[in-house]
Amino acid sequence: MNGTEIRVKGKVQGVGFRPFVWQIANALELSGDVLNDGAGVLIRLLNNRQLGLFQQKLMQELPPLARIDAITVTDFSWDSIPRGFTIRASLATAMDTQVVPDAATCPQCLAELHDHNNRRYYYPFINCTHCGPRFTIIQSLPYDRPNTVMSPFPLCKDCLTEYLSPADRRYHAQPVACAQCGPMVYVTDSQGAIIPGNWLAQTITALQQGLIVAIKSIGGFHLACDATNYAAVQLLRNRKRRQYKPVAVMVKDIPAIENVAETSVEQQKLLTSRVAPIVLLKSKAHSALAENIAPHLSEIGIMLPSNPLLHLLAHAFPRPLVMTSANRSGLPPALENTEALLQLKGVADRFVMHNREIIQRCDDSLMRIDQYGRQEVIRRSRGLVPDALELPDDFPDADGYLAFGGDLKSAFAIGKGRQIVVSQYLGDLSNIETQQQYQKTIEHYRDLYHLDIRHYVADQHPGYFSRQLADRQAAQQQNVSQAAIHYVQHHHAHVASCLIENGWRLGQGKVLALALDGLGFADVESNSQPQFWGGELLLADYRQSRVIGGFPAVRLVGGDIAARQPWRSYYAHLKAFIPQMTAGEMQRLIGNKPLRQLDVAMERNINSCSIRSAGRLFDAVAASLGVVDDEIEYEGQAACQLQALACRCLNLPDNEIKMPVSGLSLDLTTFWHSWIECAGSVEQKAYLFHRALAKALAQMVQNAQLHYQIQHVVLTGGVFHNSLLRTLLKQELAGYIQILEHKNYSCGDNGIALGQLAVALSQSQ
């Protein structure tokens, strides 16, 4: 044997990996070649004493977007001795490589963007192998220009030279382009008529005038306006018919955040990372931002520009900009120019368009870093998707599995060898347009990764579109081969999602878990009625989960309306826990509502159900403090506002609110009696509630720990996006028990596809 073959797997295509190999091989004067194939990258070298150093550099000096998951080194025999080191053309073989997430503009490209002498000066699509779009422009694999939306843009002479030169940063950078050969930006009015002139100047003028501008970005359109102009923000709110839902703000760099929000070093690092997510930051008093950016909340979503077009905008506009996803309420964001003009008619005054297609919806990711530096993903999308998660050792391979997720904050997951890939956030599947986008995205992944699905995994809720689709697809396939459908209970999926994120092995045993959210369907015993859960203490592993305690049930009337009108939860709690309260007292507390009719509906079982729900307890408490409207506008609004109030509490009162634990259940009877007697400002009461709940939950976990002798507790469910509750609970539990938390996936429904897939895999054995 005169040679060595090195097989590299992972994120090694479209990230400048081959030129990187070429450069170190040349530097070490090694001979051989390198190529891309379906399995990743294959390097063949003529044996040389520098080989060890080569492998060391390969691991240590990786390009920014690359990640090596596995390296195998084998002997190889050269028939004829190679001269020098070459890059060979890609081979089309079976797919076993990863698609890379879109990455924010790198410092070198950014410098070139603002360099008068650079030929890409102010070119809004500048990118290189270290940055730029990937996932959102790939039509199929392998990742080569003809398989991307760049195929209609043949390279000019200069770009081609860079593209073909292994020493260049743009060697085989598929989206490489310049003003001579690449996509172009233009501005239109609300009718789609092109407004002649410089696009940037046109846009800045419109923003200065307080107009609303739709901007075609990387994974969809944004709506932008001057974030310091109250009237402009209000105009946007009125047109989107969204009075309360917070909107994100883009600033040009870290110093520009100074005036609007507080940042830690970790937060700054995240903001400037290649993901460039929206980061929730504590907003500053007397900020320059208009008050209606995030009404009644203590945090604000800030992001830095994530592509050159946005960099140019942020640089040219002297103030922060609102940068919110450009969809009409309930509709998925538009991806095509004509679709955007139609959907945003009457919302946007100007459209910043370009002629490069968007293949995949990819919203801005939303993240948070808490006071201890712990990262949390609230919406997982641009920059994070489609990164894969490695299965723990003792899991079987995941090929052939597709998990459909849930219907709210939807995302699905696919299995691929030793990995699970979770899709981008796809929104609420309650309307047909979003359902269609979700279906198309599933199809895209199937084609892209050449999937042969045999296991369809869905939530148990029969009313979920995601489950109905899983049923249909499984039924359609049944004739062709052996298709299996698996239903996973909602909260079990939440727990499994957290476990697998933490690398928990199949054989590692059971954990305790607090799964707290609004509502999930539970059909656990074949001969009993299905139930609605949402405040559960579980004893679980991947294969099974069992409720051992949690919140008591209340009776709610009106189906989904109950989740939109917090006063209904308040009334339901009073009825359940202070049943002796007179109708007059109830009326005094709740206000002028048709309570008698609700009583009848409850008694006669008209559209009513019993539900254990942490989310509805937050609704009830917020309503009792009179801090929310009769009807909320976005999911979790009451809880978010309650948390914001609590965070504003400066001095604590001496009194405590009682929330005892009886066995493994919360005693809400004692709580509600204590609550309505409790004096204090709304801020104080909001804080006392969080603290009392945290203490009670901690007590519950400790009781269970004692009884079951288990040393780990999982914190999961959308309620744990409440950072105050989580922090207080962790303080209570510190030192008693090991806590497992989500990190790279949402603890809410955006993360359940991952858990569904893990449960189905575990049960397959």
Binding site: S329, G330, L408, N431, G463, A563, V600, I606, E635
Partner: protein, 337 residues
């Protein structure tokens, strides 16, 4: 007459005879019924003069409570069957009427209902020509059940049917939705909502009549049990077409809307007893609408949507988003997390 109906009123004896003479003959009186044979003897010539096809329909009426704002079980029994006959363009002319009475029903109540049937039939030009009465022991029926069957002649020029529906046709509803369903729900469950809820129970032939001259009318249905949603699903199933309804265009009274909001129910699923759905080709939509609006029972007729080729029933909200409308299976289940 005694104060209450007893088993003897159904025995075929003297009491039965008295009931027939003093109640049914008194209120329903007409030449066919008055012959008092075992069957009504109807003139074919009169029926055949109007067309070649006879429309024949039957329905049974059980409702609690039997008297409600806007009507009673008697009016319902006449309108319901007459409306079924009318939906093919036929003018309902003859009706049968069978009653199953629970022992103990106050005579006064029965009389009120029979008189209401007679008044409704008279006003609509319908004759009740044959009938039957049974009395069952307490608990074997709930107060009063009525079955009616009706016939009418279909004009030769009219051959409406779901198979005629095509994409592009407009969906017209003849007035506000859910009045009957909401009224009955309020009373039956004792919700105690005061005042203005009122059943829409009414004969629909006058509305049908004004549509007869219009070529573009494709199909008609009265939107009873299951509401407009059920009708559109039936149409979709039979025609293969899709039906897109605009939520903002659904006519609903403030009273019905508040019942729906309180309970989280949808007016499009609520029963009506005096509303029809007409599917009309686009070119005749205006004419149909105007004609309907000039009738007494169709003043609030309006277009609620359009037929397409999707094969599904969809609801379009005010923001332009669509969702599938499923047929309700049991009660709606919460899904918001």
């Amino acid at each position: 007459m005694p104060e209450r109906i007893t088993l003897s009123h159904g025995s075929g004896g003297k009491a039965t005879q008295q009931l027939i003479d003093e109640l049914f003959l008194h209120y329903f009186s007409n030449p066919f019924l008055n012959q008092l044979e075992d069957q009504a003897r109807l003139p074919i010539i009169q029926l055949a003069a109007a067309g070649e096809l006879l429309a024949f329909s039957t329905d049974s009426y059980v409702i609690d409570p039997i008297i409600f704002p806007g009507g009673d079980i008697g009016k319902l029994a006449v309108c319901g069957t007459a409306n079924d006959v009318a939906m093919c363009g036929a003018k309902p002319s003859f009706l049968s009427c069978s009653l199953i009475i629970e022992e103990g029903l106050p005579f006064e109540t029965l009389e009120q209902i029979v008189s209401s049937m007679a008044a409704t039939a008279n006003a609509a030009g319908i004759q009740i020509v044959t009938g039957d009465t049974k009395v069952v022991a307490r608990g074997s029926a709930d107060k009063l059940f009525i079955n009616t069957s009706g016939i009418g002649t279909i004009p030769n020029t009219i051959r409406w049917g779901a198979d005629k529906i095509a994409p592009g046709d407009q969906i017209i509803v003849s007035g506000t939705l859910g009045d009957h369903g909401a009224t009955i729900l309020n009373l039956r469950e004792g919700l105690g909502l005061s005042g203005l809820l009122k059943s829409d129970c009414q004969p629909l032939y006058p509305l049908v009549e004004v549509l007869l001259p219009l070529q573009g009318v494709k199909a008609l249905r009265d939107a009873t049990r299951g509401g407009v949603n059920a009708v559109l699903h039936e149409f979709s199933h039979r025609s293969g077409c899709g039906f897109k309804v605009n939520e903002a265009d659904l006519p609903v009274t403030a009273e019905v809307r508040s019942v729906c909001e309180l309970l989280g129910l949808e007016p499009i699923n609520f029963a009506n007893e005096g509303k029809l759905i007409a599917i009309v080709a686009k070119q005749d939509t205006d004419a149909a609408l105007k004609a309907l609006q000039q009738t007494e029972g169709g003043a609030k007729a309006t277009i609620i949507g359009e037929v397409n080729d999707s094969g599904k029933v969809t609801l379009c909200n005010a923001f332009g988003g669509h969702r599938w409308l499923d047929l309700p299976s049991g009660e709606p289940m919460p899904r918001i997390c």
